[in-house]
């Protein structure tokens, strides 16, 4: 069987796109929901931070490091028990979301940490002097002031997740990366593989472009001139396909 005919390829690709967006969308959402507080916690518990706690900082930091150092495919296998407990299965799209999200949480947390650390300590001091508590500082200063960077971090995470999602094919989750591997690598149907790669490149470029625009708009909202180079999305697109 050869899938060189467009009428045969189209439904295959549509389904693959849908699977990829489904997996990446949900796992990105979970990654942001989990990584944002974790990243902020890393900054707050650091020495000299508002909740300075060396032990907690070391534990969380080490946890993040271990999770990040694990190759995604190993993480996916290692988490199978947990995945089954959450989704009831270890196969399929839903099952792939769990390791994707778990893998992306520490990744995003580190990016959040870097972004939040950039916020001028003077602003924190100012809010403290007004009588604000730690929660006020997080809500009114750390998050809004680092928002452009946080948006950029989210974009980077989504792009990385698209890369990781190619490996989700190994648990039968489908997706664009899975098509490229199965048809292109295993069946030598290079045409379909290149189409998939092209779609991935376009999707990643679009996501990066949208992310950059949003970040720049948020940055400019503060009346500042943008520091972001205009063609950054091209660079990120090549970086994105490398992770896949």
């Amino acid at each position: 069987m050869s899938t060189t005919d467009w009428s045969e390829m189209q439904p295959l690709l549509t389904q693959a796109c849908r699977d990829t967006f489904y997996m990446v969308g949900w796992s990105a959402l979970v990654a942001v929901a989990g990584g944002l507080p974790l990243g902020i916690l890393l900054v707050l518990t650091d020495r000299g931070g508002l909740l300075s706690n060396t032990v907690a900082n070391k534990v969380v930091g080490q946890l993040v490091n271990v999770a990040r150092s694990m190759p995604f495919i190993i993480l996916m296998i290692a988490l199978m028990g947990f995945t089954r407990w959450i989704t009831g299965t270890t196969i399929g799209r839903d099952a792939a979301i769990v390791p994707l999200a778990i893998g992306a949480i520490p990744f995003f947390a580190r990016l959040v940490e870097t972004a939040v650390r950039e916020v001028d300590g003077g602003l924190v001091e100012a809010v403290q002097a007004m009588g604000g508590n730690t929660w006020t500082v997080v809500r009114k200063v750390l998050v809004p002031e680092s928002l452009p960077s946080l948006v950029s971090s989210t974009t980077t995470t989504i792009v990385a997740l698209i890369g990781y999602s190619a490996m989700a094919g190994t648990v039968g989750a489908g997706g664009l990366g899975d098509i490229a591997i199965r048809y292109g690598y295993q069946r030598f149907e290079t045409q379909l593989m290149w189409i998939t790669v092209a779609i991935l490149a376009v999707v990643i470029s679009l996501i990066q472009f949208a992310g950059d625009c949003t970040a720049r708009a948020l940055y400019r909202r503060g009346g500042r001139s943008s520091p972001a180079p205009a063609l950054r999305f091209l660079k990120a697109a090549t970086a994105g396909s490398r992770t896949a």
């Binding site: 508002l50 001091e125 007004m130 009114k140 002031e145 503060g222």
Partner: protein
């Protein structure tokens, strides 16, 4: 609540004897590297008394402990020992057990305004939203916040910039926003942390003028720290000089001038000039209040029929009063001039005879920028 932000009625500074900020034995030590490394003493038993309604300046070089001092007043830094009382409330007693500020301390802080050298405005918010921030923390409703923020911006002369972002403002305008924000909680006390150090001389003057006006209109007590003698000279009623974590001189400007050998007084009123010969007597004459308007020098010359050379003089209006110093030279050695010097003292002037050793450089840099 809004009455004070309406038409300002200039009132005279009502400096009362009521202490509004008092620190006693304030000490702050810390280690540069957590548990090891040498212990640094930022504050070494500082006693400060700021009276209600005055502008009090703490001056000193970098590293003298000024910054730690002002941060210990609202407990942004925790003193190692000593107490801080602001408006009758012992703030050091409010410190919670952990590192986090207790609710009572946070409430007390909201009644102390603070302005910063680098303004510390949120770049993601408009000018108006920046001023609203402390009101949000106080839990004021949206409409009240908005109205009050506009009133405050009006007070600092920036009502037309309400919807601008901080990045679009000049340094002086940013500091005005900072001041408006600091006033949002209707504070009795305003702490100013080198508020003019990042500004050019012209803007510095206008910001100091604003602080002075607020001090008079609202009866606001201002405690400012600075490394610029000009700041003390232009708006302070009282001043303290800090060196190596200690207050070495403190008092009203008049009191300081009356203190023989006061480094602050000689920095505020620098008089230079060397004796033109060995057979001369050099004396520093300090004028305060009424004596400043008397023609004492010509009277001295006429009475004793001596030639007087003026080597240097500095006269200024401090806190609305004429204050000055003059270095004059009388012919003959000190022994020959006991009578003229006595005459000057009789006129109510403070006279310090300058010997060679006294002519040392002024210890505090003047008008220097960081």
């Amino acid at each position: 609540m809004h009455s004070r932000t309406g038409t300002p009625t200039p009132v005279h500074p009502t400096v009362t004897e009521t202490p509004v900020i008092t620190t006693s034995g304030l000490t702050k030590t810390y280690r540069a590297h957590r548990s090891h490394g040498p212990e640094v003493t930022a504050l070494d038993g500082v006693d400060l008394h700021v009276r209600e309604g005055e502008v009090f300046g703490v001056i000193g070089q970098s590293g003298a402990g000024k910054s730690s001092l002002i941060r210990c007043i609202n407990l942004l830094e925790r003193p190692t020992a000593g107490t801080v009382t602001v408006d009758g409330q012992d703030l050091t007693a409010l410190v919670g057990r952990g590192r986090r500020a207790s609710r009572a301390l946070r409430e007390a802080r909201s009644r102390i305004g603070m302005v910063f050298q680098h303004f510390n405005l949120l770049s993601s918010r408009t000018v108006r939203d920046n001023v609203e921030l402390p009101l949000e923390i106080l839990g004021m409703s949206g409409r009240d916040r908005s109205r009050k923020a506009l009133d405050l911006l009006d007070l600092v002369g920036l009502a037309d910039k309400a919807d601008a972002h901080p990045a679009q403002l000049s340094g002086g305008q940013k500091q005005r926003v900072g001041i408006a924000r600091a006033l949002a909680g209707d504070p009795k006390v305003l702490l100013s942390d080198e508020a003019t150090s990042a500004l050019d001389p012209e803007t510095t003057r206008s910001i100091l003028q604003l602080l002075r006006d607020l001090n008079r209109q609202l009866g606001l007590t201002v405690l400012l720290i600075t490394h610029e003698m000009d700041v003390v000279k232009s708006i302070c009623d009282s001043a303290a000089l800090m060196e190596r974590g200690r207050v070495v001189e403190s008092g009203t400007v008049g009191e300081l001038l009356a203190t023989p050998g006061s480094a602050l007084a000689s920095a505020l009123f620098p008089v230079g000039g060397e004796a033109t010969g060995t057979d001369r007597t050099v004396v520093d004459v300090t004028f305060r209040g009424e004596s400043a308007t008397q023609p004492v020098v010509s009277r001295l010359a006429r009475t004793y029929n001596i030639d007087i050379s003026i080597l240097g003089a500095a006269v200024d209006t401090v806190g609305g009063r004429q204050i000055g110093r003059m270095r004059i030279e009388l012919p003959g050695r000190y022994e020959d001039n006991v009578v003229p010097v006595g005459f000057l003292r009789e006129q109510g002037l403070q006279v310090d005879v300058v010997t060679e050793q006294d002519r040392q450089p002024v210890p505090v840099e003047e008008g220097a920028h960081k």
